[in-house]
Amino acid sequence: MRVRELVIIGGGPAGLSAAVEAKKLGVEDVLIIDRESEPGGILKQCIHTGFGLHVFKEELTGPEYAERFIAEAQERGIEIMLDTMVIELTDDRRILAVNSRDGLVELKARAVILAMGCRERTRGAINIPGFRPSGIFTAGTAQYFINIEGYMPGKEVVILGSGDVGLIMARHLTLEGAKVKCVAEIMPYSNGLTRNIVQCLQDFNIPLLLNHTVVNIHGKKRVEGVTIAEVDLNRKPRMETARYVSCDTLLLSVGLIPENELSRMAKVQIDEVTGGPVVDQSMQTTIEGIFACGNVLHVHDVVDLVTIEARVAARGAADFLKQKKKRIRPATVPVIPGEGLRYVLPQRIDLDGALEETQNFFMRSVKPMDRGRLLIQSDRGVVMSKNLKFIRPSEMISIKVKREILQQNNCLKISLCEGSENGD
């Protein structure tokens, strides 16, 4: 069995960014394994712009953003094993992969970075009643058909869910000559970025129906229409509001799920809220030497933050590889989400690990708020607070916390209260 220094599973934005950074930090042997025939992951099909504003200070398309990292990976001699599916990962970092050229590939990695990304929630996961005809696609699959294969999945489209992929597809389908009849969103607010609501729906007069859902799918062979209805405060459909919308296609943009089948195989602890691994500040999971970054860890709204997170994971892996002797299980400070927040990441701080002067925490609110106050509490009371404006569940909140605060407390809870203290 061949031993490799750092193996990165997944060659999308997270994997590529991590690989380049690890090489820069002196890791000599870096291998990316990707299941597709070209690296770039989901960026390959994201031909719209809006990528790179933080990292490159310019606006790129998805393929352009990926290309910068692919080119750098090539320059730095990073090996990318394509068309290869990892089918097993163990907690002692043995990897079993398969492809047509080499058959089964067995590797032992000294460190692993998980960068498998996420998949889309499907109709089954949200239980939409009705028939099971053709013409029901997840938004990302429709995007793949159009942008990679050059085929139109439909001509008259209803979109359920207002996640970013759905919003982008509403615009794209319209530009391709399809008619997008409406976007129905079960929540009282959109799950997409504000800029996408403006640029993809409002600019094209596509109605966004908040508090609405699809209650039935019609058509036995092909979708012929859907019934949509308003929902009440408990998100139960009010059937008296039901109406039929004819369409040949239903697109689903109802959420993304981090793809952690391999992580589970390797006994990595999964956070039930993020759907991704529990990590410390170096993005190390609960299994030593296995790190995670990107959408496999938690679903991001912009790719630039994936790159930034991947660099942290790469540094973590590089430091781990330089370690002379195995460390005893370190003392950790748990960081838990309190009221008003769905999750906080990283979920714990390793006090023996490298700590920057300030540590970034990422979190999502449970609901939109115009103003809110973020409170960081320990068992001694509030240790830090910050006022925030225009809070949306779809837009990640980040906060920098000083090293001393992390070192002086046994446990931290971060919560978000609506409103703000006077004056702010």
Binding site: S100, D102, G103, A178, K221
Partner: protein
């Protein structure tokens, strides 16, 4: 000349076709859809029942017991996975125990063996996640699980290997007795003349019987809805778990699948439309409520899909398997509701006997091949077998379906073998590509490409389940108006 025409490519029609293929006969099977197992056979509980449910003396009771016993041999010959995992009928209140005792007596009268009532302690030993109120259960070790479409496909393949002609997209538009004592069966494309016609048309058997001028009966579609859970939750239960039955139904069960998932369902609602396989939100609520009585801690966040199937319930409430007294050569095999799948092998035996009584001469072929091999299931092989397979054919190293680990080699085999897949659903049923937790989100574009390449058709012609269910609507730019504008709202 055709010796026997079989109408219907469900598990019953295919089982009969395979039995007939042992003999020196010309047999044609007509299926209105584009694949076998397109009706009731693809959407049911997939349980091979032990045989205690049916009233002694009914065809259901007799054929279930006989059918159950035949499954080991058939599945061995056809290389179809089948596991006798056993079933439990659970009593959740003291009154139910009396019902269990009645069932036990009925089972004994039917000849089910072994069969016994087990205590609460034994039950929790077997099923730790069962409702804590459960007080006893009827345990039948001979109950099994199978993949009903894999079985049906295997039967059809083996029948075809042995010379049976299978015609798809061939709804019967006319069937009648002719003056010469033969029967005529017409589809939109062809007309067959045959002395014997077997009506195994499932939900539509009543219409076919009426069309032929044979005995009148009615088939009512009885809908059952199901939810399937992610393989991740496979350790929730170990056996087929039934509630104590009511007058109307065996009830909503919690049951493992042969492929490692588990499901809950079905409910039981008589409907009118024989095509209405739509799932309803009331139905989903009903099966969740029902299943929670057996297993309270259902991991509902891990549901991967829902579906509904229609049972073909006859007005006699028993199977109708008999030669018509009105139309010579016409044999009804109707009303095959539960335990139809379990009984199918015995139904086929019975139909062969009826054919003989009706004057068909059976001469065994000397070249009948009873064996059929499964598509190599990459995910189930060990590493040595996988290496060997990829060396032999590199397409087995190319994983197409990530959730179920299905390779290109398997998909190509599913298309190229006899009675090969012609649609996404056909591939799904033969290989499991698209049946996993992402429900084809990842693999369907890739499978469409392979189907297009192998069948030599445009991706625009690739369907989900036959004509009218094409997946793609056009090339990009096809829908843009000539002036280049997009359609304004």
């Amino acid at each position: 000349m055709t010796d026997v025409v079989i109408i219907g490519g469900g598990v019953v029609g295919c089982m009969i076709a395979r039995e007939l293929s042992r003999f020196d006969l010309s047999v044609v099977l007509l299926e209105k859809e584009e694949d076998v197992a397109s009706g009731t056979s693809k959407a049911n509980s997939a349980v091979i029942h032990a045989g205690y449910d049916a009233k002694p003396g009914t065809l259901k009771a007799q054929l279930n017991i006989r059918g159950n016993a035949l499954f080991d041999k058939i599945c061995d010959e056809l290389d179809v996975p089948f596991k006798r995992i056993g079933s439990l009928v659970v009593a959740v209140k003291e009154d139910d125990v009396k019902e269990l005792e009645k069932l036990l007596e009925q089972g004994k009268a039917n000849g089910v063996s072994p069969l016994k009532i087990i205590s609460k302690e034994e039950l929790f030993e077997l099923e730790p996640n069962i409702n804590s109120k459960a007080c006893a259960a009827l345990y039948a070790p001979t109950a099994g699980i199978i993949n009903p479409f894999e079985l049906t496909v295997a039967l059809a393949e083996n029948a075809a290997q042995n010379g049976v002609t299978i015609r798809f997209n061939s709804p019967v538009v006319d069937v009648k007795a002719c003056d010469d004592g033969m029967m005529m069966v017409k589809t939109p494309h062809e007309t067959f003349h045959s002395p014997f016609v077997i009506n195994a048309a499932g939900l539509f058997a009543d219409e076919i019987s009426q069309m032929a001028g044979a005995e009148a009966y009615t088939i009512t579609p009885r809908k059952g809805e199901y939810l399937i859970f992610d393989k991740r939750c496979s350790d929730m239960i170990n056996m087929v778990i039934f509630p104590t039955p009511t007058k109307f139904s065996k009830g909503i069960l919690v049951c493992p699948t042969i492929d490692g998932n588990f499901f809950i369902g079905p409910n039981s609602n008589d409907i009118e439309d024989k095509h209405d396989t739509g799932v309803t939100s009331e139905g989903i609520d009903e099966i969740i409520r029902g299943a929670r009585r057996l297993v309270p801690g259902l991991p509902l966040e891990n549901v991967i899909t829902s579906f509904a199937g229609l049972r073909a319930v006859s007005n006699t409430n028993d199977f109708i398997i008999e030669a018509s007294r009105k139309v010579k050569g016409f044999i009804n095999v109707g009303g095959i509701q539960s335990p139809g799948l379990s009984s199918a092998p015995a139904i086929a035996e019975m139909v062969i006997e009826i054919l003989q009584e009706e004057g068909l001469t059976l001469k065994e072929k000397n070249n009948f091949n009873s064996r059929r091999n499964r598509i190599y299931p990459f995910r189930e092989l060990n590493d040595e077998e996988r290496k060997k397979l990829i060396r032999h054919n590199p397409a087995y190293g190319h994983v197409i379906c990530r959730c179920e680990t299905v390779t290109e080699g398997e998909i190509v085999d599913a298309i190229r073998r006899p009675v090969g897949a012609r649609s996404l659903d056909g591939i799904k049923r033969r290989t499991r590509a698209g049946l996993g937790r992402c429900q084809g989100g990842f693999c369907s574009p890739r499978v469409i490409k392979i189907l297009s390449r192998e069948l030599g058709i445009s991706p625009l012609k690739v369907t989900k389940c036959g004509q009218g269910s094409e997946i793609l609507k056009g090339r990009t730019k096809d829908f843009i108006d000539s002036d280049g504008d997009f359609n304004e709202s």
